[in-house]
Symmetry: C2
Subunit: 316 residues, 2 copies
Protein backbone atom coordinates (compact mmCIF):
# COMPACT_ATOMS: atom_id res chain seq x y z
CA UNK A 1 0.00 0.00 0.00
CA UNK A 2 1.07 3.49 -0.91
CA UNK A 3 1.77 6.19 1.65
CA UNK A 4 1.46 9.34 -0.46
CA UNK A 5 -1.63 11.43 0.15
CA UNK A 6 -3.28 12.74 -3.01
CA UNK A 7 -5.93 15.42 -2.29
CA UNK A 8 -9.52 14.55 -3.06
CA UNK A 9 -9.77 17.39 -5.57
CA UNK A 10 -6.57 17.53 -7.56
CA UNK A 11 -5.89 20.82 -9.38
CA UNK A 12 -5.57 20.56 -13.16
CA UNK A 13 -2.04 19.94 -14.51
CA UNK A 14 -2.08 23.50 -15.87
CA UNK A 15 -2.83 24.92 -12.40
CA UNK A 16 -0.08 22.77 -10.87
CA UNK A 17 2.34 24.01 -13.52
CA UNK A 18 1.42 27.64 -12.83
CA UNK A 19 2.09 27.13 -9.12
CA UNK A 20 5.39 25.38 -9.81
CA UNK A 21 6.39 28.20 -12.13
CA UNK A 22 5.59 30.62 -9.33
CA UNK A 23 7.67 28.57 -6.89
CA UNK A 24 10.70 28.94 -9.17
CA UNK A 25 10.31 32.69 -9.75
CA UNK A 26 10.94 35.69 -7.49
CA UNK A 27 13.29 35.90 -4.50
CA UNK A 28 14.56 32.40 -3.89
CA UNK A 29 12.69 29.22 -4.52
CA UNK A 30 9.50 28.30 -2.67
CA UNK A 31 10.40 24.76 -1.65
CA UNK A 32 7.27 24.29 0.43
CA UNK A 33 5.09 25.00 -2.57
CA UNK A 34 7.03 22.46 -4.64
CA UNK A 35 6.59 19.82 -1.94
CA UNK A 36 2.90 20.61 -1.50
CA UNK A 37 2.36 19.84 -5.18
CA UNK A 38 4.77 17.12 -6.28
CA UNK A 39 4.75 15.02 -3.10
CA UNK A 40 0.98 14.75 -3.37
CA UNK A 41 0.56 13.58 -6.94
CA UNK A 42 0.75 9.99 -8.19
CA UNK A 43 2.95 8.81 -11.07
CA UNK A 44 0.33 9.40 -13.76
CA UNK A 45 -0.39 12.88 -12.43
CA UNK A 46 3.29 13.81 -12.20
CA UNK A 47 3.85 12.59 -15.72
CA UNK A 48 1.00 14.79 -16.93
CA UNK A 49 2.40 17.77 -15.02
CA UNK A 50 5.76 17.28 -16.68
CA UNK A 51 4.17 17.07 -20.11
CA UNK A 52 1.98 20.10 -19.50
CA UNK A 53 4.92 22.09 -18.14
CA UNK A 54 6.90 21.47 -21.32
CA UNK A 55 3.92 22.55 -23.43
CA UNK A 56 3.17 25.68 -21.38
CA UNK A 57 6.68 26.92 -20.69
CA UNK A 58 8.85 25.22 -23.29
CA UNK A 59 11.09 23.82 -20.56
CA UNK A 60 11.59 20.38 -19.05
CA UNK A 61 10.31 20.49 -15.47
CA UNK A 62 13.17 18.23 -14.38
CA UNK A 63 15.72 20.71 -15.72
CA UNK A 64 14.00 23.55 -13.90
CA UNK A 65 14.04 21.58 -10.65
CA UNK A 66 17.67 20.77 -11.26
CA UNK A 67 18.44 24.49 -11.61
CA UNK A 68 16.43 25.60 -8.59
CA UNK A 69 17.14 22.92 -6.00
CA UNK A 70 20.28 21.46 -4.54
CA UNK A 71 21.88 18.54 -2.69
CA UNK A 72 19.76 15.84 -0.99
CA UNK A 73 16.51 17.72 -1.43
CA UNK A 74 17.15 18.06 -5.15
CA UNK A 75 17.91 14.35 -5.47
CA UNK A 76 14.73 13.14 -3.77
CA UNK A 77 12.56 15.58 -5.77
CA UNK A 78 14.16 14.56 -9.06
CA UNK A 79 13.98 10.83 -8.33
CA UNK A 80 10.38 11.17 -7.25
CA UNK A 81 9.36 13.21 -10.29
CA UNK A 82 10.85 10.79 -12.83
CA UNK A 83 8.54 8.17 -14.31
CA UNK A 84 9.05 4.90 -12.43
CA UNK A 85 10.52 2.96 -15.38
CA UNK A 86 12.79 5.85 -16.32
CA UNK A 87 13.82 6.22 -12.69
CA UNK A 88 14.81 2.56 -12.53
CA UNK A 89 16.81 2.96 -15.73
CA UNK A 90 18.52 6.05 -14.32
CA UNK A 91 19.39 4.35 -11.02
CA UNK A 92 20.69 1.16 -12.62
CA UNK A 93 22.86 3.22 -14.93
CA UNK A 94 24.35 5.07 -11.95
CA UNK A 95 24.88 1.71 -10.29
CA UNK A 96 26.98 0.47 -13.21
CA UNK A 97 29.32 3.49 -13.18
CA UNK A 98 32.60 3.23 -11.41
CA UNK A 99 32.16 6.28 -9.15
CA UNK A 100 28.61 5.35 -8.11
CA UNK A 101 28.81 1.60 -8.51
CA UNK A 102 26.23 -0.27 -6.45
CA UNK A 103 25.40 -3.86 -7.34
CA UNK A 104 22.77 -4.03 -4.61
CA UNK A 105 20.64 -1.49 -6.50
CA UNK A 106 20.76 -3.74 -9.57
CA UNK A 107 19.60 -6.73 -7.55
CA UNK A 108 16.89 -4.65 -5.92
CA UNK A 109 15.47 -3.42 -9.23
CA UNK A 110 15.68 -6.90 -10.75
CA UNK A 111 13.93 -8.64 -7.86
CA UNK A 112 11.35 -6.22 -6.44
CA UNK A 113 9.73 -4.93 -9.62
CA UNK A 114 7.03 -6.91 -11.41
CA UNK A 115 8.18 -8.65 -14.61
CA UNK A 116 6.41 -6.02 -16.72
CA UNK A 117 7.87 -3.12 -14.71
CA UNK A 118 11.33 -4.58 -15.17
CA UNK A 119 10.71 -4.87 -18.90
CA UNK A 120 9.59 -1.23 -19.02
CA UNK A 121 12.74 -0.17 -17.17
CA UNK A 122 14.76 -2.00 -19.84
CA UNK A 123 12.84 -0.16 -22.57
CA UNK A 124 13.38 3.17 -20.79
CA UNK A 125 17.08 2.33 -20.59
CA UNK A 126 17.23 2.01 -24.41
CA UNK A 127 15.52 5.37 -24.85
CA UNK A 128 17.72 7.17 -22.35
CA UNK A 129 21.15 5.61 -22.87
CA UNK A 130 21.06 4.16 -26.40
CA UNK A 131 22.28 0.86 -25.06
CA UNK A 132 20.63 -2.06 -23.31
CA UNK A 133 20.50 -2.35 -19.56
CA UNK A 134 21.96 -5.85 -19.50
CA UNK A 135 24.69 -4.72 -21.87
CA UNK A 136 25.91 -2.12 -19.38
CA UNK A 137 25.51 -4.40 -16.38
CA UNK A 138 27.48 -7.13 -18.15
CA UNK A 139 30.15 -4.71 -19.31
CA UNK A 140 30.74 -3.22 -15.89
CA UNK A 141 30.81 -6.44 -13.91
CA UNK A 142 32.72 -9.69 -14.12
CA UNK A 143 33.05 -13.16 -12.64
CA UNK A 144 30.43 -14.45 -10.21
CA UNK A 145 28.74 -11.10 -9.81
CA UNK A 146 28.15 -10.81 -13.54
CA UNK A 147 27.01 -14.43 -13.62
CA UNK A 148 24.30 -13.56 -11.08
CA UNK A 149 23.32 -10.02 -12.14
CA UNK A 150 22.89 -10.45 -15.90
CA UNK A 151 20.24 -13.19 -15.75
CA UNK A 152 18.54 -11.48 -12.78
CA UNK A 153 18.12 -8.21 -14.66
CA UNK A 154 17.10 -9.96 -17.91
CA UNK A 155 14.49 -12.20 -16.35
CA UNK A 156 10.80 -12.21 -17.15
CA UNK A 157 9.63 -14.48 -14.35
CA UNK A 158 6.32 -16.22 -14.57
CA UNK A 159 3.89 -14.45 -12.23
CA UNK A 160 1.20 -17.05 -11.67
CA UNK A 161 0.87 -18.98 -8.43
CA UNK A 162 1.08 -22.47 -9.95
CA UNK A 163 3.78 -24.43 -8.13
CA UNK A 164 5.47 -27.71 -8.97
CA UNK A 165 6.12 -29.33 -5.60
CA UNK A 166 8.35 -32.08 -6.85
CA UNK A 167 10.60 -29.55 -8.58
CA UNK A 168 10.60 -27.45 -5.40
CA UNK A 169 11.76 -30.50 -3.48
CA UNK A 170 14.47 -31.49 -5.92
CA UNK A 171 15.72 -27.92 -6.29
CA UNK A 172 15.79 -27.37 -2.52
CA UNK A 173 18.07 -30.40 -2.46
CA UNK A 174 20.30 -28.97 -5.19
CA UNK A 175 20.51 -25.64 -3.35
CA UNK A 176 21.39 -27.39 -0.11
CA UNK A 177 24.07 -29.54 -1.72
CA UNK A 178 25.72 -26.62 -3.46
CA UNK A 179 25.66 -24.47 -0.34
CA UNK A 180 26.99 -27.31 1.82
CA UNK A 181 29.86 -27.75 -0.66
CA UNK A 182 30.46 -23.97 -0.66
CA UNK A 183 29.72 -23.95 -4.44
CA UNK A 184 27.85 -20.67 -4.13
CA UNK A 185 28.47 -19.76 -7.76
CA UNK A 186 27.29 -23.10 -9.16
CA UNK A 187 25.35 -22.91 -12.45
CA UNK A 188 22.42 -24.78 -10.99
CA UNK A 189 22.09 -22.54 -7.95
CA UNK A 190 22.13 -19.47 -10.17
CA UNK A 191 19.71 -21.05 -12.64
CA UNK A 192 17.17 -21.71 -9.90
CA UNK A 193 17.38 -18.25 -8.33
CA UNK A 194 17.31 -16.34 -11.60
CA UNK A 195 14.61 -18.20 -13.52
CA UNK A 196 12.00 -19.67 -11.18
CA UNK A 197 8.82 -17.77 -10.35
CA UNK A 198 8.48 -16.14 -6.94
CA UNK A 199 5.76 -18.60 -5.95
CA UNK A 200 7.92 -21.54 -6.97
CA UNK A 201 10.94 -20.17 -5.08
CA UNK A 202 8.90 -19.57 -1.97
CA UNK A 203 7.89 -23.24 -1.99
CA UNK A 204 11.50 -24.28 -2.61
CA UNK A 205 12.85 -22.15 0.24
CA UNK A 206 10.16 -23.38 2.61
CA UNK A 207 11.04 -26.94 1.75
CA UNK A 208 14.72 -26.11 2.29
CA UNK A 209 13.94 -24.71 5.72
CA UNK A 210 11.79 -27.68 6.75
CA UNK A 211 14.10 -30.33 5.37
CA UNK A 212 17.51 -28.95 6.29
CA UNK A 213 16.75 -27.03 9.49
CA UNK A 214 17.89 -23.56 8.49
CA UNK A 215 16.52 -20.77 6.37
CA UNK A 216 18.56 -20.69 3.17
CA UNK A 217 19.78 -17.15 3.85
CA UNK A 218 21.13 -18.26 7.21
CA UNK A 219 23.20 -20.93 5.47
CA UNK A 220 24.49 -18.29 3.06
CA UNK A 221 25.69 -16.03 5.89
CA UNK A 222 29.16 -17.52 6.04
CA UNK A 223 31.28 -14.48 5.25
CA UNK A 224 29.64 -11.10 5.89
CA UNK A 225 32.31 -9.32 3.85
CA UNK A 226 31.89 -11.36 0.66
CA UNK A 227 29.98 -9.13 -1.78
CA UNK A 228 28.76 -11.97 -3.98
CA UNK A 229 27.24 -13.81 -1.01
CA UNK A 230 25.63 -10.59 0.16
CA UNK A 231 24.06 -10.13 -3.28
CA UNK A 232 22.82 -13.72 -3.22
CA UNK A 233 21.12 -13.11 0.12
CA UNK A 234 19.67 -9.83 -1.14
CA UNK A 235 18.33 -11.66 -4.20
CA UNK A 236 16.54 -14.19 -2.04
CA UNK A 237 15.20 -11.72 0.46
CA UNK A 238 14.01 -9.16 -2.03
CA UNK A 239 12.26 -11.81 -4.13
CA UNK A 240 10.24 -13.32 -1.31
CA UNK A 241 10.04 -10.61 1.35
CA UNK A 242 10.65 -7.22 -0.30
CA UNK A 243 9.27 -5.10 2.56
CA UNK A 244 11.76 -6.68 4.93
CA UNK A 245 14.57 -6.00 2.48
CA UNK A 246 13.57 -2.35 2.14
CA UNK A 247 13.07 -1.93 5.87
CA UNK A 248 16.58 -3.18 6.47
CA UNK A 249 18.05 -0.88 3.82
CA UNK A 250 16.32 2.04 5.54
CA UNK A 251 17.62 1.01 8.96
CA UNK A 252 21.19 0.67 7.68
CA UNK A 253 20.92 4.00 5.86
CA UNK A 254 19.70 5.82 8.96
CA UNK A 255 21.96 4.11 11.48
CA UNK A 256 25.09 4.85 9.49
CA UNK A 257 27.45 7.44 10.83
CA UNK A 258 26.33 10.12 8.40
CA UNK A 259 23.05 8.89 6.98
CA UNK A 260 23.24 7.15 3.59
CA UNK A 261 21.05 9.71 1.82
CA UNK A 262 21.11 7.92 -1.53
CA UNK A 263 19.72 4.72 -0.05
CA UNK A 264 17.12 6.62 1.96
CA UNK A 265 15.96 8.63 -1.06
CA UNK A 266 16.01 5.58 -3.32
CA UNK A 267 13.79 3.44 -1.12
CA UNK A 268 11.34 6.24 -0.38
CA UNK A 269 11.09 7.47 -3.98
CA UNK A 270 10.60 3.98 -5.38
CA UNK A 271 8.26 2.54 -2.73
CA UNK A 272 6.06 5.49 -1.58
CA UNK A 273 3.52 4.58 -4.23
CA UNK A 274 3.87 0.82 -3.90
CA UNK A 275 4.31 -0.80 -0.50
CA UNK A 276 5.67 1.86 1.86
CA UNK A 277 2.86 1.23 4.33
CA UNK A 278 4.05 -2.35 4.76
CA UNK A 279 7.68 -1.27 4.88
CA UNK A 280 6.81 1.11 7.73
CA UNK A 281 5.07 -1.72 9.61
CA UNK A 282 8.06 -3.96 9.11
CA UNK A 283 10.39 -1.16 10.19
CA UNK A 284 8.48 -0.64 13.39
CA UNK A 285 8.28 -4.37 14.10
CA UNK A 286 12.04 -4.69 13.78
CA UNK A 287 13.22 -1.43 15.38
CA UNK A 288 10.39 -0.51 17.79
CA UNK A 289 10.50 3.06 16.57
CA UNK A 290 8.36 4.51 13.78
CA UNK A 291 10.19 5.23 10.54
CA UNK A 292 9.02 8.86 10.43
CA UNK A 293 10.54 9.54 13.86
CA UNK A 294 13.87 8.06 12.79
CA UNK A 295 13.85 10.08 9.57
CA UNK A 296 12.94 13.29 11.41
CA UNK A 297 15.84 12.68 13.79
CA UNK A 298 18.40 12.22 11.00
CA UNK A 299 17.33 14.75 8.37
CA UNK A 300 16.24 18.38 8.31
CA UNK A 301 14.67 21.23 6.35
CA UNK A 302 13.02 20.77 2.97
CA UNK A 303 14.62 17.39 2.54
CA UNK A 304 13.04 16.13 5.75
CA UNK A 305 9.68 17.63 4.83
CA UNK A 306 9.75 15.95 1.40
CA UNK A 307 10.66 12.52 2.81
CA UNK A 308 7.99 12.74 5.50
CA UNK A 309 5.37 13.85 3.00
CA UNK A 310 6.15 10.84 0.81
CA UNK A 311 5.85 8.36 3.66
CA UNK A 312 2.49 9.90 4.59
CA UNK A 313 3.51 11.68 7.79
CA UNK A 314 0.41 13.59 8.87
CA UNK A 315 1.96 17.04 9.35
CA UNK A 316 3.92 17.05 6.11
CA UNK B 1 9.53 -8.48 -47.72
CA UNK B 2 6.62 -10.84 -47.39
CA UNK B 3 5.71 -13.42 -50.03
CA UNK B 4 2.10 -14.16 -49.14
CA UNK B 5 -0.50 -12.79 -51.49
CA UNK B 6 -3.52 -11.25 -49.81
CA UNK B 7 -6.43 -10.56 -52.23
CA UNK B 8 -7.32 -6.93 -52.82
CA UNK B 9 -10.83 -7.49 -51.48
CA UNK B 10 -10.63 -9.72 -48.45
CA UNK B 11 -13.87 -11.44 -47.42
CA UNK B 12 -15.14 -10.61 -43.93
CA UNK B 13 -13.91 -12.89 -41.12
CA UNK B 14 -17.45 -14.26 -40.85
CA UNK B 15 -17.45 -15.24 -44.54
CA UNK B 16 -14.02 -16.85 -44.19
CA UNK B 17 -15.29 -18.80 -41.18
CA UNK B 18 -18.34 -19.99 -43.08
CA UNK B 19 -16.11 -21.23 -45.89
CA UNK B 20 -13.75 -22.94 -43.46
CA UNK B 21 -16.70 -24.58 -41.74
CA UNK B 22 -17.83 -25.84 -45.14
CA UNK B 23 -14.34 -27.17 -45.87
CA UNK B 24 -14.51 -29.30 -42.70
CA UNK B 25 -18.01 -30.68 -43.33
CA UNK B 26 -19.31 -33.24 -45.77
CA UNK B 27 -17.39 -36.06 -47.47
CA UNK B 28 -13.76 -35.53 -46.57
CA UNK B 29 -12.06 -32.26 -45.95
CA UNK B 30 -11.68 -29.64 -48.67
CA UNK B 31 -7.97 -28.89 -48.30
CA UNK B 32 -7.85 -26.59 -51.30
CA UNK B 33 -10.49 -24.36 -49.79
CA UNK B 34 -8.55 -24.20 -46.52
CA UNK B 35 -5.38 -23.23 -48.37
CA UNK B 36 -7.19 -20.67 -50.51
CA UNK B 37 -8.31 -18.88 -47.35
CA UNK B 38 -5.62 -19.27 -44.68
CA UNK B 39 -2.54 -19.02 -46.91
CA UNK B 40 -3.80 -15.70 -48.20
CA UNK B 41 -4.50 -13.84 -44.96
CA UNK B 42 -1.96 -11.91 -42.87
CA UNK B 43 -1.40 -12.42 -39.14
CA UNK B 44 -3.96 -9.84 -38.05
CA UNK B 45 -6.57 -11.31 -40.42
CA UNK B 46 -5.89 -14.88 -39.29
CA UNK B 47 -6.17 -13.84 -35.68
CA UNK B 48 -9.54 -12.25 -36.39
CA UNK B 49 -10.71 -15.37 -38.23
CA UNK B 50 -9.76 -17.50 -35.25
CA UNK B 51 -11.62 -15.20 -32.86
CA UNK B 52 -14.68 -15.04 -35.12
CA UNK B 53 -14.69 -18.80 -35.57
CA UNK B 54 -14.79 -19.33 -31.81
CA UNK B 55 -17.66 -16.87 -31.50
CA UNK B 56 -19.66 -18.30 -34.40
CA UNK B 57 -19.12 -22.00 -33.84
CA UNK B 58 -18.02 -22.29 -30.23
CA UNK B 59 -14.89 -24.17 -31.32
CA UNK B 60 -11.23 -23.28 -31.53
CA UNK B 61 -10.27 -23.18 -35.20
CA UNK B 62 -6.90 -24.71 -34.36
CA UNK B 63 -8.58 -27.71 -32.77
CA UNK B 64 -10.82 -28.15 -35.80
CA UNK B 65 -7.79 -28.04 -38.12
CA UNK B 66 -6.04 -30.50 -35.84
CA UNK B 67 -9.00 -32.89 -36.16
CA UNK B 68 -9.41 -32.53 -39.93
CA UNK B 69 -5.83 -32.48 -41.19
CA UNK B 70 -2.85 -34.74 -40.76
CA UNK B 71 0.93 -35.09 -40.97
CA UNK B 72 3.12 -32.45 -42.66
CA UNK B 73 0.19 -30.55 -44.11
CA UNK B 74 -1.40 -30.30 -40.69
CA UNK B 75 1.82 -29.02 -39.13
CA UNK B 76 2.37 -26.22 -41.64
CA UNK B 77 -1.28 -25.12 -41.44
CA UNK B 78 -1.24 -25.10 -37.64
CA UNK B 79 2.11 -23.29 -37.40
CA UNK B 80 0.96 -20.75 -39.93
CA UNK B 81 -2.37 -20.12 -38.25
CA UNK B 82 -0.89 -19.52 -34.79
CA UNK B 83 -0.18 -15.92 -33.81
CA UNK B 84 3.52 -15.23 -34.37
CA UNK B 85 4.42 -14.71 -30.69
CA UNK B 86 2.47 -17.79 -29.65
CA UNK B 87 4.05 -19.77 -32.49
CA UNK B 88 7.52 -18.83 -31.26
CA UNK B 89 6.57 -19.85 -27.73
CA UNK B 90 5.22 -23.16 -29.04
CA UNK B 91 8.33 -23.91 -31.11
CA UNK B 92 10.78 -23.00 -28.35
CA UNK B 93 8.89 -25.22 -25.96
CA UNK B 94 9.13 -28.13 -28.40
CA UNK B 95 12.82 -27.35 -28.76
CA UNK B 96 13.38 -27.74 -25.01
CA UNK B 97 11.75 -31.15 -24.84
CA UNK B 98 13.88 -34.21 -24.92
CA UNK B 99 12.16 -35.94 -27.86
CA UNK B 100 12.07 -32.80 -30.02
CA UNK B 101 15.11 -31.01 -28.62
CA UNK B 102 16.57 -28.49 -31.03
CA UNK B 103 18.88 -25.80 -29.69
CA UNK B 104 19.22 -24.24 -33.12
CA UNK B 105 15.54 -23.23 -33.02
CA UNK B 106 16.16 -21.44 -29.72
CA UNK B 107 19.09 -19.51 -31.19
CA UNK B 108 17.05 -18.70 -34.28
CA UNK B 109 14.11 -17.28 -32.33
CA UNK B 110 16.45 -15.35 -30.02
CA UNK B 111 18.49 -13.78 -32.83
CA UNK B 112 16.15 -13.19 -35.76
CA UNK B 113 13.14 -11.65 -34.00
CA UNK B 114 13.05 -7.99 -33.07
CA UNK B 115 13.57 -7.26 -29.35
CA UNK B 116 9.87 -6.54 -28.94
CA UNK B 117 8.82 -9.69 -30.82
CA UNK B 118 11.09 -11.74 -28.58
CA UNK B 119 9.54 -10.13 -25.52
CA UNK B 120 6.05 -10.96 -26.84
CA UNK B 121 7.09 -14.57 -27.38
CA UNK B 122 8.23 -14.67 -23.75
CA UNK B 123 4.86 -13.28 -22.65
CA UNK B 124 3.04 -15.81 -24.83
CA UNK B 125 5.14 -18.54 -23.23
CA UNK B 126 3.88 -17.53 -19.77
CA UNK B 127 0.28 -17.63 -20.96
CA UNK B 128 0.63 -21.00 -22.68
CA UNK B 129 2.96 -22.95 -20.39
CA UNK B 130 2.64 -21.24 -16.97
CA UNK B 131 6.39 -21.00 -16.78
CA UNK B 132 8.94 -18.63 -18.24
CA UNK B 133 10.70 -19.35 -21.50
CA UNK B 134 14.18 -18.83 -20.04
CA UNK B 135 13.23 -21.05 -17.12
CA UNK B 136 12.56 -23.99 -19.43
CA UNK B 137 15.58 -23.30 -21.63
CA UNK B 138 17.83 -23.13 -18.55
CA UNK B 139 16.29 -26.26 -17.04
CA UNK B 140 16.71 -28.37 -20.16
CA UNK B 141 20.25 -27.34 -21.02
CA UNK B 142 23.56 -27.29 -19.20
CA UNK B 143 27.18 -26.23 -19.47
CA UNK B 144 28.32 -24.04 -22.34
CA UNK B 145 25.09 -24.40 -24.26
CA UNK B 146 23.06 -23.09 -21.33
CA UNK B 147 25.62 -20.34 -20.82
CA UNK B 148 24.97 -19.16 -24.39
CA UNK B 149 21.25 -19.81 -24.79
CA UNK B 150 19.86 -18.28 -21.60
CA UNK B 151 21.25 -14.76 -22.13
CA UNK B 152 20.46 -14.97 -25.86
CA UNK B 153 16.80 -15.74 -25.26
CA UNK B 154 16.52 -13.20 -22.39
CA UNK B 155 18.09 -10.33 -24.29
CA UNK B 156 16.43 -7.04 -25.14
CA UNK B 157 19.06 -5.68 -27.47
CA UNK B 158 19.24 -1.99 -28.23
CA UNK B 159 17.85 -1.43 -31.75
CA UNK B 160 19.31 1.93 -32.70
CA UNK B 161 22.15 2.31 -35.15
CA UNK B 162 24.50 4.25 -32.84
CA UNK B 163 27.85 2.49 -32.79
CA UNK B 164 30.86 2.93 -30.52
CA UNK B 165 33.85 2.31 -32.76
CA UNK B 166 36.43 2.14 -30.02
CA UNK B 167 34.40 -0.53 -28.23
CA UNK B 168 33.99 -2.39 -31.54
CA UNK B 169 37.76 -2.35 -31.93
CA UNK B 170 38.54 -3.49 -28.41
CA UNK B 171 35.86 -6.18 -28.50
CA UNK B 172 37.02 -7.49 -31.88
CA UNK B 173 40.39 -7.91 -30.20
CA UNK B 174 38.84 -9.75 -27.26
CA UNK B 175 36.94 -12.05 -29.63
CA UNK B 176 40.06 -12.74 -31.64
CA UNK B 177 42.14 -13.51 -28.54
CA UNK B 178 39.59 -15.88 -27.08
CA UNK B 179 39.08 -17.68 -30.38
CA UNK B 180 42.83 -17.94 -30.97
CA UNK B 181 43.19 -19.47 -27.50
CA UNK B 182 40.28 -21.83 -28.21
CA UNK B 183 38.41 -20.27 -25.23
CA UNK B 184 35.13 -20.41 -27.14
CA UNK B 185 33.06 -20.43 -23.95
CA UNK B 186 34.84 -17.47 -22.36
CA UNK B 187 32.59 -15.10 -20.35
CA UNK B 188 33.68 -12.10 -22.38
CA UNK B 189 32.98 -13.71 -25.75
CA UNK B 190 29.50 -14.69 -24.58
CA UNK B 191 28.90 -11.26 -23.04
CA UNK B 192 29.69 -9.53 -26.33
CA UNK B 193 27.55 -11.81 -28.50
CA UNK B 194 24.56 -11.85 -26.15
CA UNK B 195 24.31 -8.18 -25.14
CA UNK B 196 25.59 -5.88 -27.90
CA UNK B 197 23.20 -4.40 -30.45
CA UNK B 198 23.15 -5.79 -33.98
CA UNK B 199 24.64 -2.56 -35.36
CA UNK B 200 27.44 -2.66 -32.82
CA UNK B 201 28.17 -6.33 -33.54
CA UNK B 202 28.25 -5.72 -37.26
CA UNK B 203 30.94 -3.08 -36.73
CA UNK B 204 32.84 -5.40 -34.40
CA UNK B 205 32.76 -8.31 -36.87
CA UNK B 206 33.82 -6.08 -39.76
CA UNK B 207 36.73 -4.84 -37.71
CA UNK B 208 37.59 -8.45 -36.85
CA UNK B 209 37.59 -9.35 -40.52
CA UNK B 210 39.73 -6.37 -41.55
CA UNK B 211 42.18 -6.63 -38.69
CA UNK B 212 42.65 -10.39 -38.42
CA UNK B 213 42.13 -11.50 -42.01
CA UNK B 214 39.24 -13.92 -41.58
CA UNK B 215 35.51 -13.62 -41.01
CA UNK B 216 34.84 -14.53 -37.39
CA UNK B 217 32.64 -17.47 -38.39
CA UNK B 218 35.45 -18.90 -40.45
CA UNK B 219 37.68 -18.87 -37.38
CA UNK B 220 34.95 -20.62 -35.43
CA UNK B 221 34.71 -23.44 -37.97
CA UNK B 222 37.25 -25.65 -36.26
CA UNK B 223 35.16 -28.68 -35.45
CA UNK B 224 32.04 -29.15 -37.59
CA UNK B 225 30.67 -31.72 -35.14
CA UNK B 226 30.86 -29.57 -32.01
CA UNK B 227 27.27 -28.46 -31.24
CA UNK B 228 28.28 -25.48 -29.11
CA UNK B 229 30.49 -24.08 -31.88
CA UNK B 230 27.73 -24.62 -34.38
CA UNK B 231 25.32 -22.66 -32.17
CA UNK B 232 27.89 -19.88 -31.82
CA UNK B 233 28.17 -19.62 -35.60
CA UNK B 234 24.39 -19.70 -35.95
CA UNK B 235 24.14 -16.90 -33.39
CA UNK B 236 26.51 -14.71 -35.36
CA UNK B 237 25.02 -15.45 -38.74
CA UNK B 238 21.40 -15.09 -37.72
CA UNK B 239 22.10 -11.79 -35.95
CA UNK B 240 23.79 -10.10 -38.87
CA UNK B 241 22.58 -11.93 -41.98
CA UNK B 242 19.29 -13.68 -41.14
CA UNK B 243 18.23 -14.31 -44.75
CA UNK B 244 21.43 -16.21 -45.38
CA UNK B 245 20.86 -18.25 -42.24
CA UNK B 246 17.31 -19.12 -43.31
CA UNK B 247 18.34 -19.86 -46.86
CA UNK B 248 20.93 -22.31 -45.58
CA UNK B 249 18.43 -23.99 -43.27
CA UNK B 250 16.10 -24.45 -46.24
CA UNK B 251 18.86 -25.88 -48.39
CA UNK B 252 19.90 -28.35 -45.71
CA UNK B 253 16.27 -29.31 -45.08
CA UNK B 254 15.63 -29.99 -48.76
CA UNK B 255 18.93 -31.68 -49.58
CA UNK B 256 18.62 -34.10 -46.71
CA UNK B 257 17.91 -37.69 -47.54
CA UNK B 258 14.24 -37.49 -46.60
CA UNK B 259 13.45 -33.79 -46.43
CA UNK B 260 13.55 -32.24 -42.93
CA UNK B 261 9.89 -31.22 -42.97
CA UNK B 262 9.97 -29.54 -39.57
CA UNK B 263 12.76 -27.18 -40.62
CA UNK B 264 11.07 -26.46 -43.94
CA UNK B 265 7.71 -25.72 -42.32
CA UNK B 266 9.32 -23.67 -39.55
CA UNK B 267 11.21 -21.34 -41.86
CA UNK B 268 8.30 -20.87 -44.23
CA UNK B 269 5.67 -20.36 -41.54
CA UNK B 270 7.81 -17.86 -39.63
CA UNK B 271 9.27 -15.87 -42.55
CA UNK B 272 6.51 -15.81 -45.21
CA UNK B 273 5.21 -12.58 -43.76
CA UNK B 274 8.61 -11.09 -42.93
CA UNK B 275 11.55 -11.51 -45.30
CA UNK B 276 10.82 -14.56 -47.47
CA UNK B 277 11.36 -12.54 -50.64
CA UNK B 278 14.97 -11.87 -49.59
CA UNK B 279 15.43 -15.45 -48.44
CA UNK B 280 14.32 -16.63 -51.91
CA UNK B 281 16.84 -14.28 -53.54
CA UNK B 282 19.58 -15.53 -51.27
CA UNK B 283 18.54 -19.13 -51.96
CA UNK B 284 18.77 -18.62 -55.68
CA UNK B 285 22.11 -16.80 -55.44
CA UNK B 286 23.59 -19.67 -53.47
CA UNK B 287 21.99 -22.67 -55.23
CA UNK B 288 21.20 -21.38 -58.73
CA UNK B 289 17.77 -22.93 -58.55
CA UNK B 290 14.60 -21.15 -57.41
CA UNK B 291 13.31 -22.20 -54.00
CA UNK B 292 9.84 -22.99 -55.31
CA UNK B 293 11.26 -25.46 -57.85
CA UNK B 294 13.25 -27.22 -55.12
CA UNK B 295 10.22 -27.37 -52.86
CA UNK B 296 7.99 -28.67 -55.65
CA UNK B 297 10.55 -31.38 -56.34
CA UNK B 298 10.68 -32.58 -52.74
CA UNK B 299 7.08 -32.27 -51.55
CA UNK B 300 3.64 -33.12 -52.87
CA UNK B 301 -0.10 -32.73 -52.57
CA UNK B 302 -1.76 -30.27 -50.19
CA UNK B 303 1.45 -29.85 -48.29
CA UNK B 304 3.28 -28.72 -51.41
CA UNK B 305 0.41 -26.44 -52.41
CA UNK B 306 0.39 -24.79 -48.98
CA UNK B 307 4.17 -24.21 -48.93
CA UNK B 308 4.16 -22.80 -52.45
CA UNK B 309 1.23 -20.51 -51.66
CA UNK B 310 3.09 -19.13 -48.65
CA UNK B 311 6.23 -18.39 -50.62
CA UNK B 312 4.15 -16.59 -53.25
CA UNK B 313 4.37 -19.13 -56.07
CA UNK B 314 2.14 -17.79 -58.80
CA UNK B 315 0.02 -20.87 -59.45
CA UNK B 316 -0.68 -21.67 -55.81
Amino acid sequence: MATIKVPEHVPSPAEDCEQLRKAFKGWGTNENLIISILAHRNAAQRSLIRKTYAEMHGEDLLKELDKELSSDFERIVLLWTLEPADRDAFMVNEATKRSTSNNLVIVEVACTRSPLELFKARQAYHARFKRSLEEDVAYHTSGDIRKLLVPLISSLRYEGDEVNKSIAKSEAKILHEKIANKEYNHDELIRILTTRSKAQLLTTFNHYNNEYGNAINKDLKVDPKDEYLKLLRTTIKSLIFPERHFSKILRLAINKLGTDEWALARVIATRAEIDMERIKEEYFRRNSIPLDRDIAKDTSGDYERMLLALIGHVDA
